[in-house]
Amino acid sequence: MDRAETSARIAALIEPFNKKGIEVADATRFTDDLEFDSLTVMDFVAAIEDEFDIIISMNQQAEIENFGQLVDAVVKLKG
């Protein structure tokens, strides 16, 4: 699966959590820009995991701060 397609699918999954309608780009940060709290993170991660049938452990989540890093991580996890 290529990066552009993964990026588009993740962007679609962010929509319901993007309460302020922030424009999402690779540099968009989940905590600082999208203002995700821990509960939102859990629901959002669950949505990504279900969509791609992967596990993103908390250890891996700790390394992911922005949208671009998440897309890269998912691409890598999907192999």
Partner: protein, 402 residues
């Protein structure tokens, strides 16, 4: 010369939240001092006799005459402390005796006692799940479970509270051959709800996971023999590790893990929070042993505590309060407050009425709720429970919550 970065600046938001709260004039809910403790259910607070409804002293063992006598005897016979690790000079006859009492209580082969319940979770979880293993745990797990995960090297995968399907999806995706540990609690202490352990453990076993259940808030009370929610639901045999504490129903301090795992004893050499700390004082293990043995036959107390839980739950529901569970599921009745400020006002109004409960606030609470957490004691009389309902009703009206 560069300026010093104040390492405390990260606490500024919390310092502000706290000073804003205190500026409203409320008594500091986290600064209560009990001047004198009269019984498991009554203490003097601010010079006033106060009913205790937030102590986790579920079985009221703290003033049991046999328990007190055992502690005094051990102080005389063995001194005030061991000054040593369990694996060096800190194992006395009393430490072996309390582990035997736990084996008898749970009908399990192995028991290992830690200096606190916090250390029991910290030690067992961080030690048994290592690099490349996966810990699958409920998102509402206690801080000691999270800290155990953080201290170890395993991959940590949380799932939505009590959600069997969410748990199964995560177990299914774990790479083949990886070690798996599912961590659950019998009673979740914030809302006082229980886990569907029977179903969850069946799923965990289907995927070849080992199961650890923290029964801190159910020991002594839930289940025919007080062994906890897993016993109540008939699945204790499928639990690999039960974690518990002496600081609730047992009425002192300490933590433990019981297990039937054939290699369990090696934990005593590899579990750092067990090895690198001093063992419990002789008086503490003596009181714990006596208390645990008495809890084995405390069926009448358990029945009375269930009666109190049902009465309080119904009384508060009828008064118009919103509770954490629609049915009483444990000895914890959690009252949901609209926000922290009114929660603190209500907490203070109750204290003025002569009632102490726990104020719980984010981040310790699920979904950022502010809770007034009530934990009942088997020593609360039916009359005290009625008094408590009256106090809640008056306080709730005074601060316009009901």
């Amino acid at each position: 010369m560069s300026d010093t970065t104040d390492l405390f600046s990260k606490f500024d938001p919390l310092i502000k939240m706290r000073s804003d709260l205190l500026a409203t004039g409320v008594t500091d809910p986290f600064g209560l001092v009990m001047e004198r403790v009269i019984s498991p259910t009554v203490a003097m607070c601010n010079g006033r006799e106060t009913i205790l409804l937030g102590t986790y002293n579920y079985m009221g063992m703290t003033f049991d005459p046999d328990v007190i006598a055992a502690g005094k005897q051990a102080l005389d016979d063995f001194g005030s402390g061991t000054t040593g690790s369990r694996v060096l000079n800190g194992t006395y006859a009393g430490h072996k005796a309390v582990e035997e009492a736990l084996c008898d209580f749970y009908d399990m082969k192995h028991a290992m006692v830690f200096s606190t319940g916090y250390q029991a979770n910290l030690g067992i979880i961080s030690t048994i799940a290592g690099k490349g293993d996966y810990i699958v745990l409920d998102i509402d797990s206690h801080a000691s479970i999270w800290d155990g995960c953080k201290m170890g090297d395993a991959e940590v995968v949380p799932f939505k509270h009590n959600d069997i399907e969410a748990m199964e999806k995560r177990l299914k995706r774990i790479p083949e051959g990886a070690g798996k540990l599912v961590v659950l609690e019998g009673v979740y202490s914030m809302l006082g709800d229980i886990a569907p352990l029977k179903e969850m453990i069946a799923v965990a076993k289907k995927y070849g996971a080992m199961v650890l259940v923290d029964e801190a808030h159910s020991m002594g009370f839930i289940g025919p023999n007080g062994r906890g929610v897993a016993e109540e639901q008939g699945c204790l045999d499928d639990v690999d590790f039960v974690i518990g504490t002496f600081s609730k129903s047992v009425g002192t301090v300490g933590g433990f893990c019981v297990s039937n795992h054939p290699k369990f004893e090696i934990m005593r050499l590899v579990c750092r929070p067990y090895v690198f700390t001093a063992s419990l004082p002789p008086s503490v293990v003596a009181t714990a042993t006596t208390s645990i043995r008495k809890l084995m036959t405390a069926a009448e107390k358990r029945a009375h505590l269930w009666d109190s839980s049902r009465t309080l739950h119904k009384g508060l529901t009828d008064a118009g309060f919103q509770l954490g569970t629609t049915e009483p599921q444990s000895a914890i009745i959690s009252v949901i407050m609209p926000d922290l400020e009114r929660g603190a006002m209500m907490w203070e109004a109750l204290l003025r009425e002569g009632l102490y409960v726990n104020l719980a606030r984010p981040p310790a609470t699920p979904a950022n709720m502010t809770l007034l957490r009530c934990s009942l004691c088997a020593e609360h009389s039916a009359e005290q429970v009625q008094q408590i309902i009256g106090m809640f009703t008056r306080a709730g009206q005074a601060v316009s919550i009901i």
